[in-house]
Every structure is written in C-alpha cells, then in structure tokens.
Symmetry: C2
C-alpha cells in the first residue's frame, strides 16, 4: 500500500497533501487529498471526515471551493477527499457525457459490462481508501465521518446507511436523494447496474431507508431552494418521507435563495464541520 | 456605462455577481466580480475592497480560492475583483508566455508598442472600474481599499502609493515588491514600458517609496518563508528598507513554512479583511 506524494502545502497551521497510489479495487492509479490539522502533524490521531464531490469534480474540488479546511483546522478534524470516478479506465463511453463515466462514478460498484471492471468506487470508498489513509496518516478509524455534495451527497448517504458501523457521522449538501427516481440516477444506474431496478436498491439512499436500513446518528442535510436541480434530480421530499417512516433522525434545512453551487456550500460549511466534530468527538 | 449580468449567486447571506461591460479604457469588453454583503442588498452603501489577483488568474480566482467572501460578509465589506489583463486584445505575443500579455497585465498602463493600445489596466483600476462599480452598486467610494496577491500585490501597493487619496487602505499577500529588480518585472516592464528604466519608476512600489511617495495608512503584507518565488521575484527586504527610509508604516509578517499559494492566503485572509474594515470604518 505505497503512496506517492504529489504535493504537500501548509494551510491553516495544518497540512494539505495530494497523493497517488495503485488502487487494487479500481485496477488503476487513483489520487486523493488529505488535510491534517496541526495537532495531527505531531502524530496524534484525529477523527476524519471523508469528502465526496459531485459530477465533473475531482479530489481537489471540495478543498478548493468549500472553505472546509479552515473549520477542519478549528475543530481538529482530518479531511480525506477522493476523486469522483476511476481515471484512465478506457471504458467505452466514459468521456461522452458529464453524468456518466469519468467524473461520474456515483460511489457504487458497477456490475454491468463494460463498467464493472474499473468502476468500483463503492468498494474503494468503503474499504480501500479508509484502510490506506489510516495506514499512512494519524487518522482515528473509530471516529470516521462522511459528507458530500450532489452526487457525492448521495454517496455519503448511501455509504452511511449501508455501513453505519464504519461511518459514525454523515451530512450532505444538496444530495441526489433518490437516484432511482430521477434522470441522473436512472442513466447512471442503468449503465452501471443494468436494467433490473431491483438491483438499484442497494445503492439508493431512499430505497435503503425503505428497506429498514437506518443510521444511528442524525443526518444533516442542507438544501438551497433556488437549486436548479432541486425538483428534477434531488427530490428531498422523497428521502424525508422515507426517513420519517423509518424513524431515521434527519435535520433537513431548506434555505431560500441558495443554489446548487459551492457558494452555497461555503455559506453553511462550518455547521457541517461542527456536526461531525460533535458526533465524532462526542 | 451599461453592464451585463453574467451570474448572481447568494453566498454568506450576501450576493456574488459577475458582470461584463464595454471598457472605454481598455477598448475591449471586460469582466469583473462584485460581492455585496447582506446589508448592501437593501441599498445601504458599504466600504469596498478591490482584489487584484496574480499571474494567470482571472476575476474569479480570489473569490473562489481566498475564503474572502465569508469575512467580507462578517465585516460588512463589499469586494470588487478585476481580471488580470485585457482579454481578446489580439496583441502579438500576448498568449506566448504566462508572465506577459493575457493574464499578466501588471495593473499598469503600457506605453510601448504593440501593448499600449489595450494594455491599460493601470487606468482601468485607478478610474474606470471604481467609477463603474460605484455607479451600479451601493459602494461608498470614500471608503475604498485595495489588496492583491503576487503580481496583484504589486498592483495594490503601486496604486495605493500613486493615489493614496483614492485608496484608504492597502494590503498584500506575497507581492512582487520591486518589479524593476526582478525577472518577472524586468520582462513585463521592458515590453509594456520600453527599455528606459527611468520610465519604470512610476509603476514600481519600491521606487515610489524612494521617490517620497507614501501612504498615510499602515501597509499590511503577509509573506510565506517557503514561497518558491521569494528570493528571485518578490524581494520583500528591498521594499522594507525603502519603507523604513521613507517613514512608511509597514506591517510585514513573515510566516515560516507557507508557500505562494492561495492555501497560504486563506490561512491569513481574515486578518486582511479586518485590516481593511478597521481602516475604512474605524
């Protein structure tokens, strides 16, 4: 599990680095970012929050645009950010549209050809990346949270509901909340998982709640009401209803005037860092 | 002085917009960004800080990478960000290198052919952009500050020293402090201003101090000591010595371990917003 350092930079008295490794899960090189707060630079293990970005983004996007680093430093949290898909897989069709293939891995394990060989971000997020980063950096794997935006918000919800023992805290900005019921999700799931919608339910946050999978923590979600994707792609009311029926703790905040962008995320990012800090540190 | 709205987004309870207009000074369309804190959205005029970015950047860079918006909102400051050069001038050679021409206007008025026709960011920053933005937005032109990074830090220092009556407060991150004495500056000034170095002194911050031009405020400068451009291109010790001789108030902070990037800027950005808030409001 060797990693190659691409860059390391001092920021907010901590250190932000980008690294590359040969991923066994993906069968390709993968790149990720890690922010360590100052206290971790001397080796003290700290809680860690994984960041999952949205369509077209990379492992850099959350770090550059969300204003998250300053609050991770404030609350002594580490951050780990993954890429949004395998890169360089050479899968036919992976570069033809922004919402399928490269930049659009949906944080799931594809089972349908030709995607199944490399598009395995699900297992990468659930197992390889936490193990790798916790072997190389002073991260406390018993205090691990997950958050994301849009497609990455979907990823955070799904991974937290699939494995609440791995992810103690969860939050999301403007997540796709019921991918099986919206165009982005239908396109991606059909390609990655095949035509049988029954196979989609293991990777759909609302379907997981409907199947009785819940998370013991309260899920924090922020949603802008001027989000251009709200009604067509995000559908918070469906997740909210399923959470209510399942008894899932949910704090869904709706914000008039805010859109889908990182300008919205940076406005409320401190609340998310505080949510994870309280949940992970207790 | 009509402007075209390209986008407007709610952020930190204020509004960030990008706009285009036909610049008389540049003889070209120009694009700029404006952040208004919440109090200004109802029409209350607020102090304004102009942001000048460095080589290769645009009017978006400071907004995206500096974490400045949240503190402008906190201190009720407006922000105005210009592009780093004219765009689409078609001047021969303008796209051949990152440090001359497009993305590298150096915030001065070129006098040498072929640059003199369009490369007039000096007058654009000093006159047209303040007048335009103060006509269209609730900005208090009597309380106007300027700050920048690298080439833009040079721009902030030069404009504040050339016209302290226009710019009440000034600060910079890792500015080029004596362009006439370093490779970036020698290349750009030779092209824009010609071979006679006497003509360079009106656009060189250290030379302005040497000529007795000072600013009544204290200049705040932050400089990382692991900045890869420190010794070759920035030369803070030359500006510092000239400021001392001229009696210029200067707070030059040197930070071990920090580099030239916006990760450095975001670490100390609140201090700069507070510096301008105190100077403009206090």
């Amino acid at each position: 599990m060797a990693i190659e350092t691409l860059s390391e930079t001092l920021c907010c008295r901590g250190r932000l680095g980008f690294y590359r490794h040969a991923s066994e899960t993906l069968g390709l090189d993968a790149t990720f970012g890690v922010f360590l707060p100052e206290i971790a630079l001397s080796g003290t293990p700290v809680p860690v929050v994984h960041l999952l970005a949205g369509l077209t983004c990379t492992q850099e996007t959350f770090f550059i645009k969300a204003n998250a680093v300053r609050f991770a430093a404030k609350y002594n949290l580490a951050l780990v950010a993954t890429d949004t898909s395998p890169r360089g897989a050479g899968t036919p069709g992976e570069d033809e549209s922004y919402d399928l293939g490269a930049g659009a891995g949906f944080y799931l394990d594809a089972t349908a050809a030709p995607w199944a060989q490399h598009y395995r971000m699900g297992s990468y997020i659930a197992a390889e990346l936490p193990a790798l980063t916790e072997a190389h950096f002073p991260l406390d794997g018993q205090r691990r949270g997950i958050m994301g935006h849009s497609m990455g918000g979907h990823g955070a919800l799904v991974h937290a509901l699939r494995a609440p023992e791995k992810w103690k805290t969860v939050s999301a900005f403007a997540p796709i909340m019921h991918p099986a019921a919206v165009p982005w999700g239908e396109k991606a799931f059909t390609a990655y998982l095949g035509e049988d919608r029954a196979d989609w339910r293991a990777w759909d946050a609302t379907a997981l709640l409907e199947a009785g999978r819940t998370h013991p923590g309260t899920i924090l979600i922020d949603q802008g009401l001027s989000d251009q994707f709200l009604d067509r792609e995000l559908r918070p009311e469906l997740f909210e209803a399923a959470a209510s029926r399942a008894g899932q703790g949910l704090r869904l905040r709706r914000h008039p005037g805010y859109d889908h962008s990182y300008w919205f995320i940076q406005t409320f990012i401190e609340d998310h860092m505080a949510h994870h800090a309280v949940g992970l540190k207790g």
